[in-house]
């Protein structure tokens, strides 16, 4: 990342702070950058709601995303490999999957609460739904993108079907799987915040924190929280890109 890439954001922030100082923009609607920084400080020191500090909100949110995401990976990758390999299974399951896929994860919230109660299970379920489909679809297309000739070559080299799955399909589709995982974690993270709006048992979570800041009318903390959510999502994405680069040296 070159330094010049930061030029535009810095210019915008300066304009924004100036506009707030000159009262062109009302600060109760649009806190200034300085106010947002103070908001950050309050989130860490006082907490929102008071007593619930930022560090714990972050940890709880990450914890929920982790469980939803891991479940998505464990289910989506094997299923994706299977569906990529078997035309028959894919055609069989495709209508069901294509019907469920367009339903936004957030629309599942009432049902999730009915099935799992209010707590980590329903939040993790919503995140699971958000991450599952990108991972599944990318895995399937990863398998389908493996040249057929490679499978024939493997067969002529004494490969059993088990060998084909583990030595050809999985390594061959890893680039697509990783792309799907990156997209999936992005969607899972975005969905998390909204999922936390609806009822968070332990009283911790970034979405919950923002909701409370809304109730207590601290837009500076709302924006600080939003920025943090974006930052964490960004860092997770970079992390996965690094993993991708390591594992896909051969492409």
């Amino acid at each position: 990342m070159k330094l010049t890439q930061f030029l535009l954001p810095i210019v915008l922030i300066i304009c924004w702070q100036t506009a707030s100082l000159l009262q062109i923009v009302p600060t109760y609607k649009f806190p200034s950058p300085l106010q947002i920084i103070y908001g950050f400080k309050d989130l860490i020191v006082i907490g929102m709601p008071p007593g619930h500090h930022l560090q714990y909100h972050i940890l709880y949110s990450l914890y929920r995303v982790f469980w939803g995401y891991i479940t998505a990976i464990i289910l989506a990758i094997p299923l994706g490999i299977l569906l990529g390999w078997s035309n028959r299974l894919r055609l069989l399951l495709q209508p069901i999957l294509e019907l469920i896929r367009p339903i936004p994860p957030l629309a599942w919230i009432p049902i999730a609460i009915l099935w799992f109660g209010i707590g980590i299970k329903s939040a993790a379920f919503i995140i699971f739904l958000g991450a599952f489909f990108p991972i599944l679809l990318n895995t399937i297309s990863g398998v389908l993108s493996i040249e057929h000739i490679l499978i024939e070559a493997a067969r002529t080299l004494h490969a059993s079907t088990k060998d084909i799955f583990f030595k050809i399909l999985i390594p061959g589709s890893i680039p697509s799987i990783l792309t799907g995982m990156r997209i999936g974690v992005g969607i899972g993270w975005m969905t998390l915040v909204a999922a936390e709006f609806t009822g968070v048992k332990q009283g911790y979570g970034l979405g919950y924190m923002i909701m409370t800041a809304r109730d207590i009318h601290r837009p500076d903390e709302i924006l600080a929280g939003m920025f943090l959510i974006g930052l964490i999502g960004f860092l997770i994405d970079i992390g996965l890109r690094l993993v991708e680069r390591k594992l896909v040296q051969w492409k």
Partner: protein, 254 residues
């Protein structure tokens, strides 16, 4: 290998494809009878689309014959027959595996232990002049190197019959010539039974004991040439030239 039995035998081999839309039958191989002795280097030549690749795939067990019988070492051919190795024109190397890991593949599938595998694969690396490149990925190898890896990958499994489908077609003529000589030297040591499909008459005559000329589709055996010239062969020698001319005339007649 029993020298008295045949490596490969076709009787009345016939192949038809069924066109997906119209259900029309497209004959590709009409009727082939042939007997291949062990240790023979056989080249198959024919015009494009005549069915050479289909023939190879049937021997490799990747496709099935419509009619007729194929025996390998006196036994009927099986699906994806493990006694046959196939080297593709497009190399078909596994891009996510290094050169040495590609070569080890056929041993992995036969559950050979790790250190044994490595040892055997390194021998081939050395024998095929790939030292220093064993940890490289296929994208980092030249065309000639890739093909050598592909050949090593197949030969390390010691198939009864080695099939090669225009393996040097996508290489420049210099690399091609050096790989031909390389292939010859390997074969000379191991005496594999090889069926080598090619477009290139020079190549066929340089390498083979026998050259089988196929007709245009549907394929029939037009003629079988015995190349009795002692090896090592000189590409420019008059004997080679004579056979070359004959084959070329035969091909151009069609």
């Amino acid at each position: 290998m029993n020298d008295l039995s045949l490596a490969l035998e076709f009787s009345g081999l016939n192949k038809q494809f069924i066109s997906g839309d119209s259900g029309q039958k497209i004959p590709v191989i009409e009727s082939i009878d042939y007997q291949l002795k062990w240790g023979t280097f056989l080249s198959i030549i024919g015009p494009s689309g005549c069915g050479k690749t289909t023939l190879l795939r049937i021997v490799a067990g990747l496709d099935q014959a419509t009619k007729g019988q194929i025996l390998i070492n006196g036994q009927k051919i099986k699906n994806c027959d493990q006694r046959v190795g196939l080297i593709f024109q497009e190399y078909a190397l596994f891009p996510w595996r290094t050169a040495i890991k590609n070569i080890e593949f056929g041993l992995e599938t036969q559950k050979i232990a790790g250190n044994k595998r490595k040892k055997a694969a390194m021998e081939y690396i050395h024998a095929f002049g790939l030292q220093g490149f064993e940890k490289k990925y296929p994208k980092e190898l030249s065309g000639g190197m890739k093909q050598r890896v592909a050949i090593a990958r197949t030969l390390i499994t010691n198939p009864d019959i080695v099939l090669m489908d225009e393996p040097f077609a996508s290489l420049d003529s210099q690399t091609r010539n050096s790989l031909q000589e390389f292939l010859f030297s390997i074969w000379h040591q191991r005496k594999d039974t090889i069926i080598f499909v090619t477009h290139n008459v020079d190549e066929a005559v340089f390498l083979s004991d026998q050259v089988l000329v196929l007709s245009p589709r549907p394929a029939k055996i037009m003629k079988i040439y015995e190349v009795d010239i002692p090896r090592p062969r000189d590409r420019t020698s008059p004997e080679i030239n004579t056979i070359r001319k004959e084959i070329l005339e035969n091909l151009s007649k069609n």
